[in-house]
């Protein structure tokens, strides 16, 4: 699996994504934001960080970068794109995913483990297809603006079309507002586009890739993509 990892000047999860890809035997390569072409990847990752400093709204400037045009074309032609943390914010800003990520309700940054319940009825998606039966995935968050918000009609459509991928839960997969670390609407941690080929999520699967540093649950997502590419 060839993986293009998009790097903005303020990206800091690029190396972590490289490490995670190596853990599952994928071939990562970095694409600097000034480039115009992604190359020929099987998967594109927009990693976490502060793209251009994010002094304006998170991701608001990144969407105008050179590389975004090719990412949008790639996604619209069915290519697999995952935006993690700041990458999720950028996907929302660029219109590939609906909604917006606002400041955490605590008004503070949060770095902690979270448990994610995979939506039982989620639409067909290469990112999720072969995730096993475990009640939840333990994947950490690290953000100040991860509070997902969408207007009523958007939320309704996400629910109706089963495009909510992950919700914050307890280890047993019970979803409740007390397990919500940032105030996101409906405990949303990650959503899909209508075709299931674009995933945005606030938690960092690339940090949950090695038991030595706290777990491997994030690898389920990469392994699922690898499986789906075989088909």
């Amino acid at each position: 699996m060839k993986v293009a990892i998009v790097v903005f000047p303020g990206t800091w999860s690029d190396e972590d994504c490289v490490y995670a890809m190596q853990q599952v035997g994928a071939e990562p390569y970095k694409v600097w934001h000034t480039e115009k072409k992604l190359g020929n990847p099987d998967l594109v990752i927009i990693p976490g960080g502060f793209s251009y400093g994010d002094y304006l709204r998170c991701g608001a400037i990144a969407r105008f970068s050179n590389i975004m045009e090719d990412i949008i074309t790639y996604a619209k032609s069915g290519g697999l794109v995952i935006g993690i943390c700041n990458g999720f914010q950028i996907l929302c800003e660029s219109g590939l995913l609906p909604g917006v990520l606002i400041r955490n309700d605590s008004l503070q940054f949060r770095c902690q483990d979270t448990f994610l319940k995979l939506n039982d009825n989620v639409i067909d998606s290469p990112f999720l297809n072969s995730i096993n039966e475990s009640p939840s995935l333990k994947i950490p968050i690290s953000h100040g603006s991860g509070n997902y918000f969408a207007d009523k009609s958007t939320l309704k459509s996400l629910l109706k079309n089963n495009r909510i991928a992950f919700q914050y839960s307890n280890p047993n997969g019970i979803i409740d507002s007390i397990y919500n670390p940032n105030g996101s609407i409906a405990n949303i941690a990650g959503i899909l586009n209508e075709h299931g080929n674009v995933l945005g999520m606030m938690p960092h699967p690339e940090r949950a890739c090695d038991n030595l540093i706290g777990g491997e649950d994030g690898n389920y997502i990469w392994k699922s993509v690898i499986e789906s590419l075989k088909k």
Binding site: G10, G53, F109, Q112
Partner: protein, 732 residues
């Protein structure tokens, strides 16, 4: 002749001014005087502390740099791997503007590390605050933590540890000490040197503004009620710019080291200290044209430009033939890079504004700040806090209640409210997270890991500066040993009051000697450090706080580290008898919380400390110990409670004799003790080994990790784990 008011403004004494005139053999120009005063400030010149540094052991077989010669100390990790680290203070700025003060403190220490070409892999923050009942303390606490979080998280360097300690003496003068650890390859180490005739000085990063002018001087005077009006002396940070600088410098070191001769950050005293110190190291002259310095504001004077402490700037001394390569390299990172001067013949610094000469002086007469010898203050007959007689208090009556109260004290309660605001995981190397003793960070790309910690209990230093400082070193090392790491070296940050005060001078001299002696015995050389004096408020001096940052090595991380305590693990106490007497409460959190008294006698036997630390490391190496916990603030029962809470297990003490005073046995803080966890079948082997070394060792009880309700049971103590957690979490 200069007026008194003018001298007061730049915190220079009349004698010092006269010395400037004598050395120059004329009156200084404005710019010269600015440069003298900044480099002769305590913050840059170490006027009171430099003569004391001779006591520090600075050499060792792993030490690669001489203290003070480079931006941070470097140690050899073997196989071409290197670690560099340093701790630095940002106390005064944080007292008036906590968010930016703390944020730029983080920025400054990061630059010290990547100026050496190394990648920062961890930050630790050692914080001290005053009385929480005072409204401003909470504002300072929140501001400092947000500042650390706001800056460190954006840069992408994990904040993995540190401490937060409260003592009334810090009300109005908090301490913000930040330590940074970096790693890389020995071959990529870059020196902060200027040399080679005509080689250009390239200023990289932010434009220069009027922020932070005379920050170094501001850091070297007592804080007063008017200090809030000094907010312009506090700089404003731009972590995004820092991130770009960091990536550009690390990449330069790794890929194009041959393009440059030196790299030096701009910190305290800005361009002045940066250029002059680099030139002094290379024994050359430098010329700077201030007209070539990109300026954020119009009509800045030479004085302002040379003394500005605008953040996120680096000075690159490039090889003439690679000037354009270096500029292009930084441009790729969208950083402005401009030639502002060059290396010249001779030993002078020449500051020009196009054709006009603003300063022309020998460099060494500026950089060689006068020193004040405090050694005659080593003895003081009536040190005010050393009353050996402790007012007697009644032994505790309700041990459950006492434990709950202890866990809720600000100094012992959980600091997760802060740690969860720090990104402690980025870079994917964090093995032990903050709040669980020393942090463990994998050395990128290797099987090695570094354990790191900061430590200092100011109350103990206040009671007895020499012994208290030894204890700070011993506890830092014990923290590392408890996670199976061999302590390698230390960095120190000397936070004290005004050294003109005899009591402070006494504290400072004895503290340095205590650190030095302890470091010698534990074989942990002092490889870098910083001093922050004049920490005074209207209520007097702060409690003396020599913060010790220490780094230890775990050779093969994959073999180590069990991060759970399984059912039926046995707990052993190593280092002392279980029962303690009243005197062990001296300096303890328990005794202070009951009496607010700094009395009693604290003690530590450093030879024994070394022995017990070696003992635990050997037990780890033999595979006889799975986990360990050092016994420090709060004493034995707090250490056991922390194990229960950290690993979510219950504990039942066996039927042990508790004939001593309960408060002393449970909460006394006798030094040189650790708890170790092991399996039943290893106990005899551990006893045998401890006996060989004459280290007291006894079995205390058993951990439970099964379906039964988890409780901590120890003699009269019988309390649910859930109640401990509630008590521990409720204060913040």
């Amino acid at each position: 002749m200069i007026s008194k008011e003018q001298l007061e403004k730049i915190a220079m004494s009349e004698e010092e001014y006269n010395l400037v005139v004598e050395r120059l053999n004329r009156e200084p120009t404005d710019v010269e005087l600015g440069m003298f005063s900044a480099l002769w400030s305590e913050h840059c010149g170490y006027k009171h502390t430099r003569p004391l540094f001779q006591f520090f052991p600075t050499e060792g077989k792993r030490v690669l740099s001489k203290t003070g010669e480079e931006n941070a100390g470097a140690i050899d990790l073997g196989d071409g791997d290197v670690a560099v680290f340093k701790v630095e203070s940002h106390n005064h700025p944080s007292a008036v503007e906590p968010y930016e003060g703390a944020a730029t403190g983080v920025g400054g220490i990061l630059r010290d590390i990547f100026a050496m070409g190394m990648r920062p892999i961890a930050l630790l923050d050692s914080l001290r605050f005053g009385d929480l009942a005072q409204g401003r303390t909470k504002y300072l606490l929140d501001g400092v933590i947000s500042g650390i979080s706001g800056y460190g998280n954006c840069v992408g360097v994990p904040t993995v540890g540190g401490e937060i300690f409260f003592d009334d003496s810090f009300t109005g003068n908090p301490l913000v000490n930040v330590m940074c650890v970096g790693t890389g390859k020995k071959d990529d180490l870059i020196s902060a040197t200027a040399e080679g005739l005509e080689n250009p000085l390239i200023l990289v990063g932010s434009d220069t503004g009027r922020d932070g002018i005379h920050g170094a001087t501001f850091a070297s005077v007592d804080l007063s009620e008017d200090s809030v009006s000094d907010r312009p002396a506090v700089q404003v940070g731009n972590p995004f710019m820092e991130k770009l600088l960091m990536e550009a410098c690390v990449e330069l070191a790794q890929q194009h080291k041959e393009w440059i001769v030196g790299l030096q950050d701009l910190g305290a005293a800005g361009l002045t200290s940066s250029a002059l110190e680099a030139a002094e190291r290379g024994r050359c002259g430098v010329e700077i044209d201030i007209a070539k310095v990109p300026q954020r504001e119009s009509k800045m004077t030479g004085y302002e430009i040379m003394l500005s402490e605008s953040q996120e700037r680096m000075l690159v001394i490039a090889k003439k033939e690679h000037e354009q390569n270096v500029i292009d390299h930084f441009k790729k990172w969208e950083l402005s890079a401009n030639v502002v001067g060059k290396v010249i013949n001779g030993e002078n610094v020449i500051i020009k504004n196009e054709d006009e000469i603003l300063a022309d002086s020998k460099i060494n007469i500026i950089t060689d700040a006068p020193t004040y010898n405090l050694l005659d203050k080593e003895h003081l007959n009536d040190y005010p806090f050393s009353d050996p007689n402790m007012p007697v208090i009644d032994d505790l009556k309700d041990p459950n209640q006492a434990l709950v109260e202890m866990l809720s004290l600000p100094n012992l309660s959980s600091k997760q409210f802060a740690f969860q605001q720090y990104d402690h995981q980025v870079q994917n190397n964090t093995i032990i997270k903050p709040g669980f003793g020393a942090a463990i960070i994998r050395v990128p790309g290797t099987d090695k890991a570094l354990a790191m910690t900061t430590d200092c209990n100011p109350r103990k230093v206040q009671i007895d500066p020499y012994t208290g400082s030894q204890i700070a070193v011993a506890e830092a090392a014990r923290n590392l040993v408890a996670v199976g790491a061999k302590p390698l070296a230390l960095t120190d940050c000397l936070n004290f009051g005004n050294p003109d005060n005899d009591v402070v001078a006494f504290q400072l001299v004895n503290s340095v000697k205590g650190i030095a002696d302890a470091a010698n015995i534990l074989d942990t050389p002092v490889i870098s450090g910083n001093a922050s004096l004049y920490n005074e408020t209207i209520n007097g001096s702060i409690a003396p706080t020599p913060v010790i940052g220490m780094v230890g090595l775990i050779e093969n991380i994959s073999k180590k580290l069990v991060r759970k305590i399984s059912n039926n693990k046995k707990l052993l106490l190593l280092g002392s008898e279980l029962n303690q007497d009243f005197s062990s409460l001296a300096g303890s959190e328990y005794y202070y919380s009951k009496t607010k008294s700094h009395s009693g006698v604290i003690s530590i036997d450093m030879q024994f400390e070394k022995k017990i630390q070696d003992c635990v490391l050997n037990l780890f190496a033999k595979g006889l110990v799975s986990n360990a916990q050092d016994i420090a603030d709060g004493g034995l029962l707090i250490a056991i409670a922390e194990l229960c809470m950290n690993y979510s297990v219950g504990f039942t003490a066996q039927d042990v004799d508790l004939s001593g005073r309960l408060d002393a046995t449970f909460f006394g803080e006798k030094e040189s003790r650790l708890l170790i966890c092991t399996d039943e079948e290893n106990i005899n082997a551990i006893f045998d080994y401890a006996k060989q070394l004459s280290v007291p060792c006894e079995e205390i009880g058993t951990f439970h990790n099964d379906k039964h309700e988890k409780k901590l049971i120890f003699g009269p103590v019988d309390i649910k784990l859930s109640e401990l957690n509630i008590a521990h979490e409720k204060t913040f």
